[in-house]
């Protein structure tokens, strides 16, 4: 009987009159200081060294020819990703189908296009005209209705977009397939038991749930492709990397022009990363009990908490010591 009474007394005392002193973390402060100094050194080295040629960077960052190149890079990326994921989705569905020939063709496609380096594939497409002078449309193995010159049909831009898309499709197929496989089998059973038509099962039940694992991987691919388009410079197409090369071959400001390109790649990937965050949020609906806050919401919350804490501290100081 006496023991609980003693504990209660102690508890009452600690809650009322004892002051809590927070633990000190000198190690964290030292580590923070070291990193801050290193960061300052790095920034200083970037800004003060005249060899970086910042004025030239500034002059060319929004130069029309550079802006055109950025636009072309964006176009190539968009074409590669959209066509790549469309074809990739078809390949994934083929691979998951119950028709053996479709399964093996899809497997073979992924095997082939993942195995040959992109740069080689691009050169093949670029030189397609040397392999097949004419492309005919008609009955398979039968008469042709009309033919076109390969050169006309597949110009350098088409060759580049086609090469990127076909290569991308192989990766996209695996990502989409992985996403579909990640959907719990019970979901498909439920959809089948409800008699939901097959196409609707895929679009309404399977794909939205697959997207949760597709989006992060696809984000990687898109960002990879933004930079991957620079490979196209071997076809002398005016994308960003090729364009800055052209400029520095003329004006000799190699570092500055490479910086221009680097800055634009940074901008593009930053925009895409932010977009990815919100797309993921969209497909996360219902999968967590509550959606994680957006960065803006989080910042606002931290500010309110800080403000409340400060108010409390002021109140405590004012009341306790005087």
């Amino acid at each position: 009987m006496t023991a609980p009474a003693v504990i209660e007394e102690e508890a009452a005392e600690s809650a009322g009159s004892l002051t809590v002193v927070k633990a000190r973390h000198p190690g964290r402060w030292i580590a923070g200081a070291v990193v801050a100094v290193l960061l300052a050194m790095a920034v200083n080295a970037l800004i003060t060294n005249p060899a970086w040629d910042w004025p030239v960077v500034g002059a060319y960052l929004f130069h029309p020819s550079v802006l055109h190149a950025v636009l072309f890079t964006v176009e190539l990326t968009a074409l590669g990703i959209v066509l790549g994921f469309l074809l990739g989705t078809v390949l994934a569905l083929m691979r998951l189908s119950r028709v053996p020939l479709l399964t093996s063709v899809a497997w073979g496609y992924v095997w082939l296009f993942r195995s040959v380096p992109l740069i080689l594939q691009l050169l093949f497409w670029y030189n397609l005209a040397a392999l097949y002078k004419q492309i005919s449309f008609g009955v398979p193995f039968g008469p042709a209705f009309f033919s076109v010159d390969s050169m006309e049909l597949i110009g350098p831009v088409t060759a580049a977009a086609l090469g990127l898309a076909l290569h991308q499709a192989a990766y996209a197929a695996e990502i989409v397939r992985g996403g579909f496989l990640s959907v719990e089998p019970g979901q498909l059973e439920a959809a089948a038991a409800l008699g939901i038509p097959r196409a609707r099962q895929i679009l309404r039940i399977r794909l939205p749930q697959a997207m949760r694992s597709i989006v992060p991987a696809a984000g990687n691919e898109i960002i990879g492709l933004v930079k991957g388009t620079s490979v196209v410079y071997i076809m002398a197409l005016p994308e960003l990397f090729y364009q800055v090369q052209v400029i520095y071959n003329r004006n000799g400001r190699v570092i500055a022009m490479l910086l221009v390109a680097a800055i634009w790649y940074l901008v593009l990937t930053t925009v895409l990363s932010a977009a990815q965050y919100y797309v993921e949020r969209r497909f996360g609906r219902g999968l967590a009990r509550a959606l994680p806050p957006t960065p803006v919401q989080r910042a606002r919350r931290i500010l309110t908490v800080r403000r409340a804490a400060r108010r409390q501290r002021l109140a405590a100081n004012g009341g306790g010591q005087r």
Binding site: A192, A193, L194, G286
Partner: protein, 254 residues
């Protein structure tokens, strides 16, 4: 005697060398509640899944309201139906899963309206009205906008029941509907099922809830090793079982 709503005849089903169903015959009249009990591995769930053709059976046949499930009869031949037709048939058969299998990315209301709209082609406002009515029936009117993961297990299973009923099925199959639930949540699901039984819904329920069987069932079926060992009204099967295996099973679960 009228034709039964559900007629299962000589159904056999094997998974490789394992024979799960060894000739099952079962008739369920319209408006009746049949409760299937038996030890795990006795083929209860497989039987239920065979009735709506989630499992393809090896021999025998199933008819619902006189229509062959999964097949079309012409003379003395059964032609396998295409998936599209099987899906259409399933809209007459409600199915409630042990693990609910609600669509987690759709709200409760969307879960309930999805199949009536996409599988039966009902107008959206009609499906919405029906969903409102059914959610009220299972006591979840205030959860229509919630996502399944925000609900308790018992609430999720009640949504799943509403979803199955939204097709206005001829028969509703329940596959151990309370087995995945915490004990204190079992009651709310059983209450919904009892109300459903009283309203004259044809039901086949695989369960371990003997109390539910006693109270609600018109027929209790005891299965073991892929066969129906005995069946009859609850007092007969549950209190005066004729077979040793039934007696042995009941002594363990009661």
């Amino acid at each position: 005697m009228s034709t039964p709503m559900v007629d299962v005849r000589g159904v056999h089903k094997s998974y490789g060398p394992l024979e799960v169903l060894r000739g099952v015959d079962l008739r369920v009249q319209a408006g009746e509640v049949t409760v299937v009990i038996g030890p795990s591995g006795s083929g209860k769930s497989t039987l239920l899944r065979s009735i709506n053709h989630l499992e393809k059976i090896d021999r025998g046949y199933v008819t619902i309201d006189g229509e062959f499930v999964g097949y079309r009869r012409s003379g003395d031949r059964l032609y396998e139906l295409r998936e599209r037709d099987i899906l259409r048939q399933r809209t007459h058969i409600g199915f409630v899963f042990q693990n609910f299998n609600l669509f987690p990315h759709l709200t409760v209301r969307q879960n309930v309206t999805e199949a009536p709209v996409s599988a039966q082609g009902r107008p959206r406002d009609e499906a919405e009205a029906l969903a409102t009515e059914l959610l009220a029936q299972v006591g979840l009117s205030d959860k229509a906008g919630a996502y399944p993961r925000q609900l308790s297990g018992g609430q999720q299973q009640r949504v799943a029941i509403a979803r199955a009923l939204a097709l206005r099925p001829k028969v509703v199959l329940f596959d151990e509907p309370t087995s995945a639930l915490d004990p204190e949540l079992v009651g709310e699901v059983l209450e919904v099922m009892k109300a459903l039984a009283r309203s004259g819904t044809t039901m086949i329920v695989v369960t371990h809830e003997i109390g539910f069987a006693r109270e609600v069932a018109d027929t209790v079926v005891f299965m073991d090793a892929g066969r129906i060992v005995e069946q009859g009204p609850p007092p007969q099967v549950l209190d005066r079982p004729r077979h040793d295996r039934t007696r042995a099973f009941l002594s363990k679960v009661l």
